[in-house]
């Protein structure tokens, strides 16, 4: 399957995306082998409240990029039901124009319990689309409120999509989305109130200079007609150039790769400590539970004793000696995004 993937077989790509999603046992080694090819794509996060027009904007961005003969992959995430686990993945409805264009690949995924606006596999999925050779990878989140910020870690650059007539939407934006946008897009600019949103947004940015007062572009567009979408593309391009020239693109990617390893380790530790091998429920009696801090300190002391100093130094040395078992890191990591 790796060679089919490398040869550009879309079926292989699609199946590997499922492997990532299902945390198949063979996925970690396949992924590690392919991950070296990632890092070529511009990875753009598209987020915003439900109904702001994220999918429609993605469709319009695909159209604009295809006009420039740029190939595009999309990862579109919609929510899973917390009750049944089912999901209705409807983002494709807005992207039908491009189904038969082999320069475009759209994959829908459900959150499957993740609460950060994406799914547990989204980072690996975006890596695969990147490694497959798409120069643009758009990652569309679920409709978000204020606290879903996984998209920051999964992408190079975040576009926050807003629309007018969403009540006093600016109030709701103060804490969360405001801080993660590299670019604001005011969609549905043909509706009354669009210029008001832009004014409010500018006021807010002036009052609360996140990120050292950096100038965050605000672009208006009407994704359904394509009006202004070229401006969005231009703003994204300019933002990439700036991030690259300031060295921040590399910083962000480095932070992303670090966070990925940290997350795998955390998930594996969690599994090791709380999973079937090491569930400590049996070791705690009712009296211990009345002193949770003391109980936790005692348990930690035991864990420390087990973990007692391993060889230090660069991991590459120990990697050369002993290949870690590939199966374990993926297990139990689902809950952890």
């Amino acid at each position: 399957m790796i060679s089919a993937f490398r040869a550009g077989d879309r079926r292989a790509l699609s199946r590997l995306l499922s492997f990532a999603e299902r945390r198949e046992a063979q996925f970690p080694s396949i992924y590690d082998e392919l991950a070296g090819a990632r890092g070529q794509a511009r990875r753009i996060g598209i987020t915003g409240p439900p109904g702001a027009g994220k999918s429609t904007l993605v469709n319009a961005l695909i159209t604009a990029l295809r006009k420039a003969s740029e190939r595009v992959a999309v990862l579109a995430v919609d929510p899973s039901s917390p009750f049944t686990g089912g999901a209705l993945l409807g983002d494709r409805v807005r992207m039908q124009d491009h189904v038969l264009d082999t320069g475009v690949f759209v994959r829908s995924m459900a959150t499957r319990g993740s609460m950060g606006g994406l799914c547990a596999a989204s980072l690996e999925a975006a890596d695969l689309l990147d490694a497959f050779g798409f120069p643009h990878v758009l990652v569309e989140t679920v409709g978000v409120g204020q606290i879903e910020h996984d998209v920051v870690e999964a992408t190079d650059l975040v576009v926050v999509v807003l629309s007018p007539m969403a009540g006093d939407g600016i109030q709701a934006l103060k804490a969360g989305l405001m801080e993660l946008a590299d670019i604001f897009v005011i969609n549905k600019a043909d509706l009354p109130g669009a210029s008001r949103v832009a004014v409010d947004l500018r006021d807010m940015l002036a009052l609360r200079p996140f990120r050292h007062g950096e100038d965050i572009p605000i672009v208006a567009c009407t994704a359904t007609t394509g009006e202004g979408v070229d401006d969005v593309v231009a703003a994204v391009g300019a933002c990439f150039e700036r991030l690259r020239s300031e060295g921040r693109l590399a910083e962000r990617r480095h932070a992303r790769h670090l966070a990925q390893v940290r997350r795998l380790v955390e998930a594996a530790l969690r599994q090791r400590i709380f999973g079937q091998d090491g569930d400590f429920a049996a070791e705690l009696d009712e009296a211990d539970l009345q002193r949770p801090y003391a109980a936790h300190a005692a348990l930690l002391a035991r864990i420390d004793a087990f973990a007692a100093v391993r060889a230090r130094g660069k991991l590459s040395e120990s990697l050369a000696e002993a290949r870690p078992e590939h199966g374990s890191p993926a297990e139990g990591s689902e809950e952890h995004r």
Binding site: R10, R11, S14, R15, L17, S18, E21, R22, S80, S81, T84, G85, G86, A87, L88, L89, G90, R92, V93, Q96, V99, L100, F105, V106, R107, S108, A110, R112
Partner: protein, 137 residues
């Protein structure tokens, strides 16, 4: 029981604009814990097969009210097979005469659900099919 949700593509091929049934079925399958990729109206067989490939679905559900089912089902299956996805369970519903449904089922398609079918039956059928496949290995 499989550990991950069954993925279903719900599509409406052809030119008729009646998508109520497709939406009702999509919602019912969602409520049974399946992940339903809904593609909307006016899909060509090629679009459906390509969407199935990109989404790596286990099931393709077609809603057809145009009378073109005897052409569309075999055509979509042919395209799925060309994509290496012959294993996909192809089911359908809509205005399909009983004798046509029987003929298509005899050709190895999944079950076809005519007017009056309950959404439960559809979900049950899909679940049972995958339980059977899992048992077969």
């Amino acid at each position: 029981m499989r550990s991950t949700p069954i993925r279903v593509l719900v599509a409406k091929p052809g030119l008729d604009g009646h998508d109520r049934g497709a939406k009702v079925v999509a919602a019912a399958l969602r409520d049974r814990g399946m992940e339903v990729v809904y593609t909307g109206l006016h899909q060509t067989p090629a679009q459906i097969a390509e969407a199935a490939l990109q989404e790596d679905v286990d099931v393709v559900g077609l809603s057809i009210h145009s009378g073109a089912h005897m052409h569309l089902f075999p055509e979509i299956r042919r395209l799925l097979e060309a994509n290496g996805m012959g294993e996909v369970l192809l089911v359908g519903g809509g205005i399909i005469p009983e004798e046509d449904a029987a003929a298509l089922e005899a050709q190895g398609f999944g079950k076809l659900f005519g007017p009056g079918s309950r959404t439960d039956e559809i979900a049950d059928y899909i679940e049972a099919e995958f339980t059977r496949r899992a048992a077969r290995g």
